[in-house]
Symmetry: D2
């Protein structure tokens, strides 16, 4: 397995190659956004959505609207990383994903990403109902009140 | 001029090439972090600091610790962009820069970036005094109280 | 000047940033192709052609069909490079460019690039006459035979 | 399996993400060199060599000296590609690899890459004997003469 959903959390395994590193000997900071995008793409694919086909068939595309990245430790050449992605919010035309880049148990970077669904005109467009229903399943469940 | 300081605000002019774009026809979201890093590098160079030489001579390097990016409009192939960089805070071993990517007067993206100065051991290290003094000059002045 | 034609040879000046380097401390080999593409883009722009507009207005796009790169010395962080581009052949629907990446007088890499002009259907398409005429001016002149 | 050796030919499976594409809607030409480098890295890893560790322990690094790329058909977003790598020549301090990027049976690009082994001083250095022996096993066998 190189990618998959476990209890609503998506895991993508990815390797660090020379292309990802910089002259400081570590992964270049902007490349964590690439790793995170690969992970969101695979999370959608695990739900049956290929972005290229979605765009050709419906005109819908996903665009990052906001991204907060916090870097705690550097990733290095040859590292095998796992990107954990958790859907944390779901709007009519947007979603928010909490993503963590880890090497084993060590967290290297954490991203909070807000993605908008856009139509052909570049304006916000409602998520397709089937995708929305599938994403709902990934949202953390609110525990029923015990009282 | 392709880069320079005007009233404490650094301006870097940069062009969008095919390498910067993606299949959605716009600049790939992670590449704004590259544009911003080019601009911070030129801002330091305008203050007399070359990061490669700094690292060879003192072991000091700058590392992004936190980055918040908000995307408002997409940049397109052939666009000439300007990255405006404003130093907004200066600590003993870190600095914060507000950066805006514009096409003409239109703001396309805004970044708040916290950069740490690290020593050879990867731990926070004090900024060199000469650089710190030069950066102080870029901080917005607190207006003297008129009353 | 950061780019321009001098005696039929196009010169693009470009700086090496962290994004261009890798953990070996040098410019990542694939990135010389990016520098070369920036240079070809500016050579076309110097002739009045913007590729984005050309594509929107005529459907024509340029695609690299073949590239030979020879690396002689590594480029390093902070280097200011110049890419020299010489048109060496011009067909009905293609062109060949000899490109050299230099640091001062030292040649770091040399590229021989064949670019095809493609129509909306992805098939070879004749170069627009005005562009073809402008490119002809860049071809090395054959000296008239003195005998 | 995402990578492995089959009859001396190394296969790396890799997916096309937005980061790999450009505004022409296809994989950016320089990125095939990244795919090829990932494949060579995994071919070495399959022989027990991690380049990062090799460099830390022996100072040896691999550098691309020459690369010929021929592009026949474009790769697209979401494509699953396989990079086939065949060692075709082995010198004392260099090796040559024939690499093909395919989508299913269709060949999209072909690369001939010469890689040099360099020491800490940047000069050619002999391949470590164990790696050399392992690479010898990958070379195509000369058929014994039947007569």
């Amino acid at each position: 397995m190189t990618a998959g959903l476990v209890n609503g959390v998506h895991h993508l395994f990815t390797r660090v190659y020379y292309e990802d590193t910089d002259a400081a000997g570590i992964v270049y900071h902007a490349n964590y956004l690439k790793f995170a995008e690969r992970a969101r793409t695979e999370m959608l694919r695990a739900l049956g959505v290929e972005q290229g086909r979605l765009r050709r068939e419906t005109g819908l595309a996903f665009a990052v609207k906001r991204c907060v990245v916090e870097y705690s430790r550097p990733a290095l050449l040859d590292d095998e990383l796992v990107v954990e992605s958790r859907l944390v919010a779901l709007g009519g035309a947007s979603l928010e994903v909490d993503q963590r880049v880890k090497r084993g148990a060590a967290e290297l970077a954490r991203l909070a990403v807000r993605v908008a669904c856009l139509g052909r005109d570049g304006r916000p467009a409602r998520l397709p109902p089937a995708l929305r229903a599938a994403l709902m399943e990934l949202l953390p469940k609110v525990e029923p009140d015990a009282t």
